[in-house]
């Protein structure tokens, strides 16, 4: 589904990603872990098309298309979704109006008819139940004055509404207590199936207790330095990131 080859990216002249290779197949859940500053969020941003990042080398193939060649909205149309680490507040735009516009724009991109009011409402009711989201939240301005937990739940709710083929969760657990993590993870699990895939970007192992990954990759200094199964996450939790550093002798990396 997604094939990242030798991806290099930088921001403000500073190299952040230094050759990422990663293949994700339909039905899989991958986790990317790593210390702060290792490039986790940069990878998520580059995949979603944030323009501040410049790709200097490499390629990303998504369902047979050159992902890097597409605008952010086209990436969404193709089925990519990024759950933001810090969802943006948009005053004056109601959450419902926003989601309705997004759903219908994505449908339009895929050559499908726009949902009518009844169809949209039905879809929304169904997904609201999954995410424990209240109608009152959806009539408020998008993310404005939402608590951290509400923002993250709203991200996964959007994911449920847009039904992406491939979702990136960028530190969705950050700032959440364990109950909120459980709700968010539960939502993600209900959306998993054999045709879609998820990339979980996280600093901590605890989210992976609830969204169990098939593969875990450790990102360090802009590269994936170790890959394994879910046990790797437990090992990291126990031993800290230092053992990766010593094991790989990457502290001396020459820039």
């Amino acid at each position: 589904m997604l094939n990242i080859r030798n991806l290099h990216a930088r921001i403000d002249g500073k190299n952040i990603l230094k050759g990422i290779n990663l293949e994700i197949k339909a039905g899989e859940v991958h986790a990317i872990m790593g210390p702060n500053g290792s490039g986790k969020s940069t990878l998520a941003s580059v995949l979603a098309g944030r323009k501040e990042y410049e790709v200097t080398e490499g390629s990303v193939d998504f369902l047979g298309k050159d992902l890097l060649d597409l605008s952010p909205e086209a990436r969404a149309g193709e089925g990519l979704f990024l759950a933001f680490q810090y969802p943006i507040e948009i005053p004056g735009l109601s959450t419902t109006n926003f989601i309705k516009t997004a759903v219908n724009e994505v449908r339009k991109y895929r050559g499908e008819n726009a949902l009518d009011a009844v169809g949209f409402l039905r879809l929304m009711k169904e997904k609201m139940a999954i995410m424990n989201i209240d109608q009152s939240l959806l009539s408020r301005s998008l993310n404005e004055g939402f608590s951290g937990g509400e923002k993250k739940r709203n991200e996964i709710f959007q994911m449920a509404m847009l039904q992406p083929r491939f979702a990136i969760l960028d530190e969705t657990d950050s700032g959440l207590d364990i109950d909120a993590i459980r709700i968010v993870a539960n939502g993600v699990n209900k959306l998993r199936n054999k045709d879609n895939a998820v990339l979980v970007v996280t600093h901590y192992q605890r989210l992976l207790d609830y969204i169990v990954p098939d593969f875990v990759h450790v990102l360090y200094n802009g590269r994936i330095v170790k890959s394994g199964t879910k046990e790797l996450a437990l090992e990291l939790e126990e031993r800290g990131y230092d053992f990766i550093r010593s094991e790989n002798h990457i502290g001396e990396e020459v820039k």
Binding site: E73, N97, T101, A102, E105
Partner: protein, 442 residues
């Protein structure tokens, strides 16, 4: 002929002589003021950024029935507001009230020619309140309107009355053949515990230039409630100075929303004078200017008596090479203790050539008050744009949503659903035709 001489000739022709006629006396005084002050130039502190004197280098037709073919209902149909079928419609053509075209549907609403009101049972009200705005607009342009008051109107809602329909006022300039100067004048008295909703628009017919110099003075008595909406969406060669002066002489409530979406050089003066304790005033404004248009909002909230509350929020979007001015004065007089006065002005610049000058001005002479003010000039958030696009919303549509979101907290202050939908539609239409998003400004 220069401007002053021109108006002198016009004034003399209109034969304002009768010392027993209240309007003649007021007019003559105002003309003397105009003769002294003239059209305000850039040296006038209140007109530093809004230079209207240049507009008077052109010739305008002014005064009596200049049009060969009088306008008909069909002409007015093109500019009617939604909901007009159940509204009182008052129509000014080139500054003169047209009783023929106007329709008063509410029995609770009294509409009289100003001349008649000044002679009859409302004489005292007219004498007391007509021209009060000149205390705040100390300039020749305000005096010019008063000097030529004729065919203005007096609107009255008597004690306890609530008209069953809103009052729509159309200020129409018939500029089909020539440039036109219009000077509509209205005095409104809202009696004790009465309530009214006024919606005002400005429209120029034809392709010649128009300059509208309008003054409306509104007197609000105890326990009365006034909603006032001004909607400006005229042509790029339609200029105006539009003064709305609200005197709350009893404990009362006003709610004013000023929407300026177009026009050439547009200057709005909104004065709210809180002359009784426990008055409440809400002032909202939204301006979205384009091309080389200019929009200037000057507001005054004068707290004369204690315990008043005023809340003011103006928001602006400046596109292309448009220029904007916001000047918000709050006065708190020595006896006006416990005043609560809040003011905020927020601007978004969409292009490198657009600019806005914003200036809060607080003059506080009491010591136990709560006042705040703030202003911002900036760009829309790129992060917000990316967020919307990452959900599949194309860039142009995302811009529109962000800008509409920016306008929302003003639009929701329009209490009439029909008018709110109308204004929202005008903004959506404008956004639809914008080709670009936002230029990066260094």
């Amino acid at each position: 002929m220069n401007t002053k001489e021109y108006f002198k000739e016009q004034f003399e022709q209109s034969n304002v002589q009768d010392r027993n006629n209240l309007l003649d006396v007021v007019r003559r005084q105002a003309f003397d003021t105009f003769s002294k002050l003239g059209i305000p130039g850039a040296k006038h502190e209140e007109w530093k950024y809004t230079r209207i004197s240049g507009l008077f280098n052109k010739e305008y037709s002014f005064g009596v029935n200049l049009t060969q073919d009088p306008l008909t209902q069909a002409d007015i149909d093109a500019i009617r507001l939604p909901g007009h079928e159940s509204a009182n419609e008052l129509i000014f053509i080139n500054g003169r009230f047209s009783a023929q075209l106007s329709i008063v549907r509410s029995s609770q609403l009294i509409v009289l020619p100003l001349e008649e009101a000044a002679r009859g049972e409302y004489r005292q009200l007219v004498e007391k309140h007509l021209g009060h705005s000149s205390k705040y607009q100390k300039d020749g342009i305000n005096a010019l309107n008063t000097a030529f008051v004729q065919a203005g109107i007096f609107i009255c809602v008597e004690k306890g009355q609530v008209p069953d329909h809103p009052v729509f006022i159309y200020n129409v300039a018939d500029a089909k053949a020539v440039n036109v100067l219009s000077q509509p004048r209205t005095l409104v008295c809202i009696g004790e515990a009465a309530q009214v909703q006024i919606v005002e628009t400005f429209s120029t017919l034809g392709s010649q230039e128009s300059f509208t110099n309008q003054v409306m003075e509104i007197i609000v008595e105890k326990d009365a409630f006034v909603e006032y909406y001004k909607i400006q969406n005229d042509k790029a060669n339609a200029h105006q100075v539009s003064t709305t002066h609200i005197r709350q002489i009893g404990k009362s409530h006003t709610h004013a929303v000023t929407i300026s979406l177009n026009g050439g050089m547009v200057r709005n003066n909104l004065n709210v004078v809180l002359e009784a304790a426990h008055c409440e005033a809400h002032l909202y404004g939204l301006y979205f200017q384009q091309g080389s248009g200019h929009i200037d909002n000057h507001t005054v909230v004068d707290n004369v008596e204690p315990n008043c509350l005023s809340f003011e929020l103006y928001k602006g979007i400046m596109d292309d090479a448009s220029t904007g001015v916001f000047n918000g004065k709050i006065f708190v007089q020595p006896q006006a203790q416990k005043t609560n006065a809040y003011q905020s002005n927020k601007n978004v610049l969409l292009s490198r050539e657009a600019s806005v000058n914003t200036k809060p001005q607080l003059e506080i002479f009491a010591d136990d008050v709560k006042c705040s003010h703030g202003c911002t000039v900036g760009q829309l958030d790129e992060e917000g744009l990316f967020y919307l696009r990452s959900r599949g919303i194309p860039e142009k549509r995302a811009w529109s949503l962000l800008l509409q979101g920016f306008t929302m907290d003003i639009l929701e202050k329009i209490k009439s659903p029909a008018i709110r939908t109308y204004v929202d539609g005008l903004i959506a239409e404008r956004l639809e035709f914008r080709s670009h998003g936002q230029q990066e400004i260094d």
